[in-house]
């Protein structure tokens, strides 16, 4: 447990502390009045209001669209279900930049809707909201649908036998069992959309700005680090509250539910109503998920003879010091290193969490989740102001980027490993001990074979997350060593069809790499490991 704690101390707590100091300590004096000052600014207040408002609406919209999907995945059996499940999960591991770019290609200037009907949404909030639904559809389907599939339908049947009508049985038996999962999913979606960066950065234009985007703007455009620090503190507190609420609902969800094997609860749809529902969900998936990705690919091929892809290999565009295609190599290198770090730290943390119990350990568990919610921008900004001067000057070291990415990847590793490690029956370890295995051999002979698969899944997740990481990386990636998402964002920031097309092409490459990583994972994970 010592190594993960040290890691989090140096690369998370220390930068966060540095942010606090930078924001509230001026000329060696604590100035808590700064918080009031910053929050009193009408522009900042507008940003806060918009951040909350769009997160609420995105969450409501996601629930509305994804809950029928959750039901269909939980209760219906149909051909191609596994493929469909993988398809709806793809957006979740897609980099925000890719999502932003894809929606730009769909509803933006010169996008598909613009060409067909003259409809442009990139100047409205709808583009952001739709992208958020696209992104979080899988969160609801996986969290709620996963539990729904394990609820014993016989519970509802028992209620029916006791005289409840079908709707009353659903309302009184299924809904209460499901409610905590819905609440947990809603909070997760709220958290992700509250801290949304890449999507808003690309689709929001100058009009719409969330807290994250504002922090970035204050840092990189206005160079007002103090204000950025105060905003980060505000965001940190808000996210802490949401996460605490989430932990509470998850604990409630784990209590006293009779769960059964999901494969026993699903059956083929019956009757016109159920087939129509299935059709509607399929149509939603096609329009919401496949269409934007399809358009993205189509746009990237819009120049004759793979022109945009070829352009990626030349370094005369002037935006970078190197050819854009080199970003692929950078990304892979960084993501590989980040995966190794995340596996080491996350694996150790998960093992420690399995072996011990108690309040302290639960606190550590929550702490591990923080970087996931606390937003990448906080991490990146913290690295920027904390690790660029003695005692820790890593500014010139390439390891800085993988470290930041690993910090975001560790929660995924822990979440994936923990349920599997906890599921290993303690008495199996005891059986091995009684047969003469020392504690170390018990781990090698009993634990390792069982978690090998989860370890691979965790590695894949960490890799995909690191690959697409944007918020933190954009702060600390050096100009001559951009990662894929950073390169995409820079290309989009420039005018001209060639830059636009290159952004589409790079996004497509990134999407394919992430999707392939995910599909390999889907093959590996047979059971419901983790909650993402």
């Amino acid at each position: 447990m010592a190594l993960p704690v040290a890691f989090f101390g140096v690369f998370f707590a220390y930068p966060v502390a540095a942010i606090v100091v930078r924001g509230l300590k001026l000329d060696g004096v604590w100035q808590f009045g700064r918080i009031g000052e910053v929050l009193g600014d009408s522009g900042i207040r507008h940003v806060l209001w918009f951040t909350t408002w769009q997160a609420l609406v995105s969450t409501a919209l996601t629930l509305l669209i994804a809950l029928p999907g959750a039901y269909v995945f939980a209760r219906f059996d149909f051909r191609g279900k596994e493929i469909l499940r993988a398809v709806v999960t793809v957006p979740f591991v897609l980099p925000t930049v890719v999502v932003g770019t894809a929606f730009l290609a769909l509803v933006g200037h010169g996008g598909l809707f613009d060409e067909l009907w003259g409809v442009r949404l990139d100047t409205t909030v709808w583009a952001i909201l739709l992208a958020h639904v696209f992104f979080n559809y899988a969160v609801v389907v996986r969290t709620v649908g996963g539990l729904w599939a394990q609820l014993d339908p016989r519970q509802e049947e028992a209620a029916r036998m006791l005289g409840a009508s079908p709707s009353a049985a659903w309302r009184r038996v299924t809904l209460p069992a499901l409610a905590p999962a819905v609440a947990a999913a809603a909070l997760m979606v709220f958290l992700f959309t509250f801290t949304s960066f890449g999507v808003v950065q690309i689709l929001g234009g100058p009009t719409f700005s969330t807290l994250e985007v504002e922090i970035y703007r204050q840092t990189s455009e206005i160079f007002d680090l103090a204000t950025a620090a105060v905003l980060t503190i505000v965001q940190f507190v808000a996210v802490g509250l949401i996460l605490a609420l989430h932990a509470w609902t998850v604990r409630r969800r784990e209590t006293a539910l009779r769960l059964v094997d999901p494969s026993l609860t699903a059956r083929r749809p019956r009757g016109a109503g159920q087939w129509a529902l299935l059709g509607a969900v399929l149509a939603t998936v096609v329009v919401l998920i496949l269409l934007p990705l399809g358009v993205l690919v189509e746009r990237s091929l819009d120049a004759p003879g793979f022109g945009y892809y070829k352009a990626l290999t030349s370094d005369d565009s002037g935006i970078f010091l190197v050819a854009p295609i080199e970003a692929v190599g950078n990304s892979l290198k960084y993501a590989g290193a980040a995966t190794v770090i995340a596996l080491l730290i996350g694996g150790l943390a998960a093992a420690a969490l399995t072996r011990r119990a108690g309040r302290l350990v639960r606190g550590f568990d929550a702490l591990l989740m923080l970087p996931l919610g606390v937003s990448a921008v906080t991490v990146g900004f913290g690295f920027l102001i904390a690790l660029d001067e003695p005692p820790l000057d890593l500014r010139s070291s390439w390891i800085l980027v993988p470290l930041a990415q690993a910090l975001v990847g560790v929660p995924f590793v822990v979440r994936t490993m923990l349920p599997v490690l906890r599921a290993v029956d303690e008495r199996l370890r005891e059986a091995a001990a009684v047969l003469g295995a020392s504690p170390w051999r018990v781990w090698r002979e009993v634990d390792l074979p069982m978690v090998r698969r989860a370890l691979l899944v965790a590695a894949g997740f960490a890799f995909a997350v690191s690959l697409g990481e944007f918020g933190a990386t954009v702060f600390i990636a050096r100009a001559d060593n951009p990662t894929l998402p950073v390169a995409v964002a820079r290309l989009l920031g420039r005018p001209g069809a060639l830059n636009y097309g290159q952004a589409m092409a790079l996004s497509t490459i990134l999407m394919v790499v992430c999707a392939v990583a995910l599909l390999v994972l889907e093959r590996l994970r047979t059971d419901r490991t983790g909650e993402f």
Binding site: D425, R427, L428, E430, A431, A432, A433, V434, L435, G436, A437, S438, R441, E445, V446, P449, M450
Partner: protein, 344 residues
Amino acid sequence: MLLRLEDATVRFDGRPVLDAVGLEVAEHEIVCVLGPSGSGKSTLLRVVAGLQPLDGGRVSLDGHDQSGVPAHKRGVGLMFQDHQLFPQRDVAGNVAFGPRMRGAAKAERAVRVKELLELVGLPGAARRRVGELSGGEQQRVALARALAPRPRLLMLDEPLGQLDRSLRERLVVELQELFGELGTTVLAVTHDQGEAFALADRVVVMRDGRIAQSGTPLDVWQRPVDEFVARFLGFDNVVDATVTGQAADTPWGKVPVPEGSAQGACALLVRPAGVRLVDVADGLRCTVAARTFRGTHVAVHLQPGGAPRLEAACALRDAPEPGDEVGVCFDAAEIMVLGGGPAA
């Protein structure tokens, strides 16, 4: 003495689960610990195995104090209640696990696996996956796995608990023969008295973390020491009584007791075989409430006026119908005065 427990005490949250237990097991002896769930019998095994630290007292094996000796160095075997076979290994992998941990060479392990699988009646099952074994087969593999490292003491936790009745009865006989042949020293725990009586040289009845009675199966069956043991063995005709001379005052009226019984207030056990059905006029007047067919006999539940129910055992052809009125008289030979004071 192979195994000796002295004042072994374990507390969970301050509540004693094992309360100053003293127990000895000699070499080649088969001892069965019998008790209801929560009586501390599984904890007893875990203490001996080294999986549960003691809060007081000590455990010695072959005269050596085991405090500070970790589970993997004690050289005892434990067969878990639900077997706990390693799911990712096949049958041979499970059986070979113990010898492998003790550094046995590959060829040696193969010989041992073959030998043990034959012993438990599963030759040729070596390459099968444990997931596809039936309950009885899993039990045999678990036994082979526990025996493979040649433990000096084999412990069984509810060895036949989850199997169906006929299989259980067959396996009890097999186990008994096998342990006799191998000369294995066995400490088993179970809540099923039939299993304990069939398997054990000696039975130890536990209650609330303490040993209530210890003796041969016949001894315990014939002379339960107190009301708890009697009721746990399935005797329900236990009442408060006051013994004077060769008779006892009970809610069922005057009941004869054997010569030399302790005098005064006590708990009295009437075995069902000691309840004789006679004419209504000749004994305690009872209504037949229910009958249960027990294979060799019929258990007749009788309701006397204003007194606790009585269970009588009678032959199938003599059994009265529910609703019949019968008389009851008692046979002193099947009645005994229990220790431990009047019934609670």
